[in-house]
């Protein structure tokens, strides 16, 4: 089932937006302009673009550790101000959480972004409640929870899948299996290197997808979302992919593995080949898209850099709803 060329080009642009965002961010991080830690999603753009394409602003997603891309895409797509994700990562007052959240705690419910949680897997429990509320209210929304392969080690993984299954909750589990939990290879850290094998016992549809083929990822997300909206209960997708970022100390994976994924399996390169084969678009047209996106990201970085820092007096605001008096 081939995608129409317009959709494919849109997804190509989305993937480039994610990559340009991460590259720009990494550059600024190295310059010392971005505080904290940085986990980038380069190499995993196809899964994020596919999810963002099918989730509506009235759905929700809990982003994973390498989530800047889908956060920015959702922010740009539904509200037209993706630069506020960038500003959040710079710790600025104009960020989506006014600088209180940062890379691992960016949220905006108006675009369906229900916030990451830096404790891997915590939100696997939270997603149940959103889904339960929608089920009780008979709203046909999808509560999506994006996790990494490392998250599978958490107890919440099992508590969540079990409860979603027994209550038939509208949860989409999107497991981005990039092969490593920091340094731990997936096959060493889990009883199976194929996460679907671990999920299957909970009795929901479990589908493994090539996470670097945008057409496949797009189609499988569509199928999952349709099934959930139809009231069929939870659905588990495992995207097999690979992250470009090594460890903070450098690259730790074999050179041939790195070459294979970056050269042969780059989701953007694969999409580019497909577009070239299926349409009259020339390399120059795709280069132009890339240049436009890179330019857009530079304006986001400028916006973030030129935004004011938060007022330090706000550091103690909003600890309690209604203040210390609990009104």
């Amino acid at each position: 089932m081939a995608l129409d060329i317009e959709t494919l080009v849109d997804l190509y642009r989305d993937m480039w937006l994610i990559r340009a965002f991460e590259f720009g961010l990494e550059r600024e991080f190295k310059k010392g302009n971005v505080p904290g830690m940085l986990h980038t999603g380069v190499g995993q753009e196809a899964t994020q673009a596919a999810l963002a394409a099918h989730l509506k602003a009235t759905d929700c997603f809990f982003p994973d550790h390498r989530c800047h891309g889908i956060n920015a895409l959702a922010q740009e797509k539904h509200q037209g101000d993706g630069e506020r994700i960038m500003a959040e990562l710079f710790g600025r007052a104009t960020g989506v959480c006014s600088g209180k959240g940062g890379s691992l705690h960016s949220a905006n419910p108006r675009v369906g972004n229900f916030g990451d949680n830096a404790v891997e897997g915590s939100y696997m429990a939270t997603v149940l409640g959103v889904a339960l509320a929608w089920q009780m209210r008979k709203q046909p929304n999808v509560a999506c929870c994006i996790i990494g392969d490392g998250t599978v080690g958490r107890g919440e993984f099992h508590e969540s899948l079990n409860m979603a299954a027994i209550w038939k909750l509208p949860v989409l589990y999107a497991c981005v299996n990039n092969g490593y939990a920091i340094s731990m290879p997936v096959g060493k850290g889990h009883a199976s290197a194929d996460i679907v094998d671990l999920a299957r016992g909970y009795g929901m549809p479990c589908v493994q997808v090539d996470g670097n083929e945008i057409e496949l990822a797009y189609a499988e997300v569509a199928r999952a979302v349709d099934s959930i909206r139809a009231g069929n209960g939870p659905y588990f997708l495992e995207f097999k992919t690979w992250r470009w970022q090594g460890l903070f100390s450098g690259e730790f994976r074999p050179a041939e593995e790195v070459r294979y994924w970056k050269e042969d399996r780059d989701p953007i390169r694969l999409a580019r080949q497909k577009i070239g084969a299926q349409s009259s678009l020339q390399a120059a047209d795709l280069d132009r898209i890339e240049a436009e996106v890179v330019q857009q990201i530079e304006t986001w970085i400028d916006f973030a850099k030129n935004s004011p820092m938060p007022d330090p007096a706000k550091a103690t605001a909003d600890v309690y709803v209604g203040g210390e008096e609990l009104r």
Partner: protein, 330 residues
């Protein structure tokens, strides 16, 4: 509906009334927890509610404490008002992350975009041979967590009024129910009313010494006060009612008046509520104090099973009397 009709009810019945009223008044309220539906909960607090409101709103869960709290928080993010039951407070370790890193921080870290308006009811406290994992006082585990609210009633009337106030509040609330109080009877107004959060009660006015206590220790302090009254010692007992954030104004005003303070808490002394109260009183009332603050607290050990051992660990009326005598001697 009149709140002036007062009946005698147990602590458990008072809690049950609060849940019943909340379920009837607000369609967003629902209950979840282990064995709370048809069975009515381990201590009978939810008895009859499943039959009245159905399995959707009085919802049994598997033994998945993290998922229970996560479900509560997630549903609160989209406007529901869950009341979760964690059967024994000792099990909060299983969902500590959900409460501390998620519920307590959510409103703050997401810049006010979400409210974790949840109530987590749990049975705490010792004195009945429950052993190391069914007896602990856990307020200290959560005392150091900004964003968390800890409510701890001592009477049936407050149990009902504070639970209603907690369910209607927009913050994540850990609602502690001391097991020794469950069968306690007291006057409980009929119908809907709320007892204000973060407001201590003066359980007994007095002028010679202030005792600040929570839950079961309020009753131990009242018993100590009655005993000492015969000797002409006039003890003021403050029932803190909300432990975090707490009503320092009432506590400090009392100590400024009496010049002597005992703080009584069932948990171990080190790093607990007694330590916090003692430090704040010492900081704020130093010049008014006629004696150093005394902490009456549990001994620094897990709760043992055998009642002889447990009784040795936990503070009671005797220790409160000793504490009062010691601040009066100084």
């Amino acid at each position: 509906m009149s709140a002036t009709t007062v009946r005698t009810r147990t602590f458990v019945q008072a809690l049950n009334e609060a849940l019943d009223i909340s379920l009837a008044r607000d369609p967003n309220v629902y209950l979840l927890g282990e064995d709370i539906a048809e069975m009515g909960g381990d201590f009978g607090v939810t008895r009859g509610l499943w039959a009245k409101y159905g399995a959707e709103r009085v919802r049994d869960t598997p033994l998945s404490e993290a998922a229970i709290i996560g479900t509560a928080v997630g549903s609160a993010m989209v406007g529901l008002r869950p009341v979760a039951e964690i059967m024994f407070a000792d099990f909060l370790g299983e969902c500590y992350d959900q409460l501390v890193n998620n519920a307590a921080k959510m409103h703050y870290m997401f810049d006010g975009q979400f409210k974790a308006s949840i109530v987590v009811r749990t049975a705490c406290g010792g004195g009945f041979g429950g052993g190391p994992h069914h007896s602990q006082s856990v307020e200290g585990w959560f005392l150091n967590v900004p964003g968390m609210v800890i409510v701890a009633p001592a009477t049936p009337a407050d149990a009902k009024g504070l639970l209603l106030a907690s369910i209607e509040n927009d913050n994540p609330i850990l609602f502690l129910e001391h097991k020794a109080l469950y069968r306690l009877k007291g006057e409980v107004p009929e119908g809907h009313y709320t007892t204000p959060l973060r407001k201590a009660a003066i359980a007994r006015p007095g002028k010679d010494v202030t005792v600040v206590a929570t839950m079961k220790m309020v009753h131990e302090a009242l018993a100590a006060a009655s005993e000492l009254e015969q000797e002409g010692i006039d003890v003021e007992v403050i029932d803190l009612r909300t432990i975090r954030p707490y009503d320092a104004e009432t506590v400090l005003a009392s100590v400024h008046k009496t010049g002597r303070a005992v703080v009584a808490n069932e948990a171990p002394k080190l790093g607990g509520l007694a330590a916090e109260l003692s430090a704040t009183i010492s900081e704020e009332c130093f010049r008014a104090l006629k004696a150093p603050v005394v902490r009456v607290a549990g001994l620094d050990a897990p709760i043992p099973f055998s009642l002889v051992l447990e009784t040795y660990i936990l503070p009671g009326k005797k220790q409160v009397v000793e504490g009062i005598r010691s601040v009066l001697r100084a």
